[in-house]
Point group: C2
Chain length 345, copies 2
Amino acid sequence: MRKPATIRDVAREAGVSVAVVSRVLNDGTGPVAPQTRAKVVETIERLGYRPRAAARELQQRTTSTIGLVLADLANPFFARLADRVVWEARARGVHVVLLTTQEDPHLEAESIDTLVERSVASVIATPAGDNVEKWARLIDLGIDVVFVDREIEGLEEIDVVTIRNDVSAEVAASHLIGLGHRRIGFISGPADTSTGRDRVTGFRRALQGAGLTADEDLIHHIPFRGDAGSDAVGALLNAAEPPSAIIVGNTAQVRSALRRIKQSDVRVPEDLSLVVFDDNPWTELVSPPLTVIRQPIDMLAVHSVDLAVGRAKGLLPAQRRRVEVEAEFVRRSSTAPLTQHAPAP
Amino acid sequence: MRKPATIRDVAREAGVSVAVVSRVLNDGTGPVAPQTRAKVVETIERLGYRPRAAARELQQRTTSTIGLVLADLANPFFARLADRVVWEARARGVHVVLLTTQEDPHLEAESIDTLVERSVASVIATPAGDNVEKWARLIDLGIDVVFVDREIEGLEEIDVVTIRNDVSAEVAASHLIGLGHRRIGFISGPADTSTGRDRVTGFRRALQGAGLTADEDLIHHIPFRGDAGSDAVGALLNAAEPPSAIIVGNTAQVRSALRRIKQSDVRVPEDLSLVVFDDNPWTELVSPPLTVIRQPIDMLAVHSVDLAVGRAKGLLPAQRRRVEVEAEFVRRSSTAPLTQHAPAP
DNA sequence: TTGTAGGCGTTATCAG
DNA sequence: CTGATAACGCCTACAA
């Protein structure tokens, strides 16, 4: 266990001053004679010297690190988002500190504090609760925040990157209506989340557009965590007048919902048509392959990182930006035209 | 955008010296009178002061950050591992810098350099290539490394946390043999990875134990990335004498392999029994539900973090530690007794 | 083109 | 119990 070389070691070893070494380190900072540079570079190589990030960050005001605050990496949607964000960030030379909230506002608050301590350059987050003041404090400290996928109200200066949740839900519902379905169940996220609300809004709009009225009993707002998807499906299936189609607009609950459907004796799509939010590696592996709304995760990641890094470098106009990317409706085999209800044998 | 308060601001505001503030910050460092402490705490609260991590790290030699170097977050196995690691780390008050290698040794090498710069306390990694010298350098700098899931040779002082890959594969194969299968295909990871090798080793052992000889044509080493799983299945299915069962020991390729099987007209488990490595949220949602080897991700995470943090705090015996946790064989419906081959109608 | 010196915010070591 | 003050490693004026 050797103690790492410092800039001073390099300077001494190369027979120059620390200033010169510093200049070749971050070149463009000042002039360095070609041969001097060569000598320094060689020495750096030989000593295996690497500038110490902490020292650098202390002296500069900012960092080359961004914070990524996600709800839950076990959810494939967030996992793939993280994957792309890390990738895009690396391409821009920035590191990612990863924090998860498990949808818990308290943990989220803690995470925000952590990010302040680390004085990250900026933050990409899926807000979980209403830590409005906490987020505001970040902004106030000059740490730029980008909300991705979800958003919360009461914050002016925060960029947002998301799909058009209302439109996506509307498209899904219209598809089902076009197939003749009249009673459609909708399982959404919590009513106090933007996605939970917006998707229901779009759903309602589709119904209205078709001259239908929404049956409130068919609309379920359920938590992201836990196993409520199963219960919601159960309630829907056991309703006096059960729906002929269900849209699961709560990505985290798709699995739970699907399991419940499999356990029952309803057949998809013969007895029940199904559209779920978010495509992922297994939606086309199940039987039948699922009709889905596919979020363009790459785009979400690219824009988030662009904004986060761009803001940090101060090369974006002050005005808050809102980026809405198109989600894609992918029809597979879990949706079919409404038929006279023929109970399973 | 206010500039954040420093320890000096707090000291001045509270009418004490910075030393006192520092002591209440990390208490146990020295004595502080109760009322003085109260005053300081109040001031800290009022000013919203948070100690700056960079300054702290500069002065102390170490960090409360660990590096997590994973191959690919899009793989649910790694995603869930990351989720648990972040969780366990937080429970111990440490942060996680996440880096992905995409299985690329070059990116891995870069990642290691990054971790040196950040002077992380320790690193948890799934080694991708043979960056032996790079890893050795980390060790040499006093940064402890824990390999999880995989390992590479030539490194003495690195802790390893993994399942018993050979035994797990052996169990899977024995299960199939017990069902009467004689020709069993095995799709593994690259031959230059520990998992890729060990699983095949166990597979061979099972065959030998049953007095069978392995047909080398039925053993495929394929990359983790890309779509080779599909090709491997194709080759197996189209062999002159195709296997009656396949074990997919390459977690990342399960999906690809499964897709290919679905496209073909072989029925699972009637025509082909199937065991795959690693359980995940969708293995029981597909038809038929898959028989799997389930890795105890929680355990992998707990032990990795324990080792990483424990080492960093220097409270572990010097000797390298090797933790092997039990994987679980979960029988579902994708395996069945061998029958006379009855081609699909 | 190169070198010197001050400071970034904390912690730690001593005296008071 | 409390208060100066010297590091920690790097960057950046400012001098030479």
